[in-house]
Symmetry: C2
Subunit: 223 residues, 2 copies
DNA sequence: TGAAGACTTGACCAAACGGTCAAGATGATA
DNA sequence: TATCATCTTGACCGTTTGGTCAAGTCTTCA
């Protein structure tokens, strides 16, 4: 009863750190599959190998787990866009951005699906984050794209529309994985399919902006 | 007790027809907003102005309502792709297809979100439909695209990837409406924004395929 | 070693939910 | 108007679910 945890970010014991991580991991798996309402604390407990009561020792409620999961993946999910560098040339940067986004869809499809689920339902729990952090990030990167356009490095195109279409195409591979697998038998786990997806998206975006990519494949992996 | 309804498609009374429609309509609104698990029969009842018991008079279970909703929108949702005509030229046809898909996302965003929700969760209830009807439709239309490519009317591109990217971009405006509204303050309800979206998507797709659109705007509305 | 906290759990509770049922209201038909 | 099938509803039931609690186990450290 004395061991109040609440939302203290400081002084997590080894056990707390480990168990909170496990819960967030299991929560991500369940929430991304079944949505918020379709997920029960009990199912997360089973997924993590812990008891339901113990989950509620570390998080005060189901909603608290959900929010922790969301917060945990938000930064990593937005990282690629943050990396868009106005000093480099747009073809390289856009191709790299698409590469990163495809990579995220391949390696963290659950994160993509969780966001999709959340936004689909009106983003009731991350509205504030979107209105503040995401909005300012998108505004900032829109300005980068406008900078390229003003510099004559890029054809005129609405920056926000450009960002939306990149999001749409890349995340589609994670969000609609089931459909894609049914129709093609493949997912982004298949290296050939993944390369084909990346090539297609890159081609559409770059050409749509009047750009050309020098090197056909094999972009660097570094952020 | 004698008035068995079950799944008899024949001989629906006027009242039955009206009430089943209302339930499907209300069900679409609720299921698309909150997902299957997040929707309660009671909420659908309130939305339709009927009692919970009465809903269960017309449909044997919540799952039955859900399936009726799904079935109801499936045909109309796939209609645009069915219209892809191999005899006409690809630029016109692809532009028309994108136009239709944007139109659907604008006018039936709930249908788009319902499908997105369903697929996101592994398509547990429409897997068969996708494996059979959708797969054969996509196969057929992929062949149309390949036909264009063989005839030299279209650059070489993977037909399935092309279809996926069109789906991704157009449906994104419905599925992520909340996000788009937060970031731009607009939705497809805004005529200017809708035109901008359609122009952007059309431009990316056509250029990506090495095509040009003669007429900039104002495509016909007819199917 | 032993005490004080941190950690874990099973039993339990109230609310919400899907679904049943019997009884009443309404509409069609003669 | 009388009759019967259709339609509608409130009361009710069993299950599931989020969350509480008291009691027990394990860690840590003097």
């Amino acid at each position: 009863m004395t061991g109040r945890i609440g939302h203290a970010p400081k002084g997590l014991s080894r056990i707390q750190e480990r168990n909170r991580s496990r819960i967030i991991e299991g929560g991500l798996a369940e929430f991304s599959r079944f949505g918020y309402s379709g997920t029960t604390i009990e199912k997360i407990a089973v997924a993590t190998g812990m008891s339901k009561s113990n989950l509620l020792y570390y998080f005060s409620s189901k909603a608290a787990i959900y929010e922790a999961v969301l917060a945990h993946i938000l930064d990593v999910w937005l990282a690629p866009l943050r990396g868009l560098d106005p000093e480099k040339d747009p073809a390289t940067e856009l191709a790299a951005y698409i590469h990163q986004k495809i990579k995220m869809s391949a390696e963290l499809p659950e994160a993509s699906r969780l966001f999709a689920n959340e936004v689909l339902q009106g983003a009731p729990r991350i509205q504030r984050v979107m209105e503040e952090d995401l909005k300012s990030l998108v505004d900032e990167k829109s300005e980068v794209i406008r900078h390229w356009i003003r510099a004559g490095k890029l054809e005129a195109i609405d920056p926000v529309q450009l960002i939306f279409t990149i999001w749409a195409m890349t995340q589609h591979y994670a969000d609609f994985q089931t459909q894609i697998q049914i129709l093609t038998g493949k997912t982004l786990d298949d290296p050939d399919f993944r390369q084909e997806a990346e090539t297609t998206v890159t081609r559409l975006i770059l050409r749509g902006c009047g750009l050309e990519l020098k090197d056909g494949t094999g972009q660097g992996d570094a952020l």
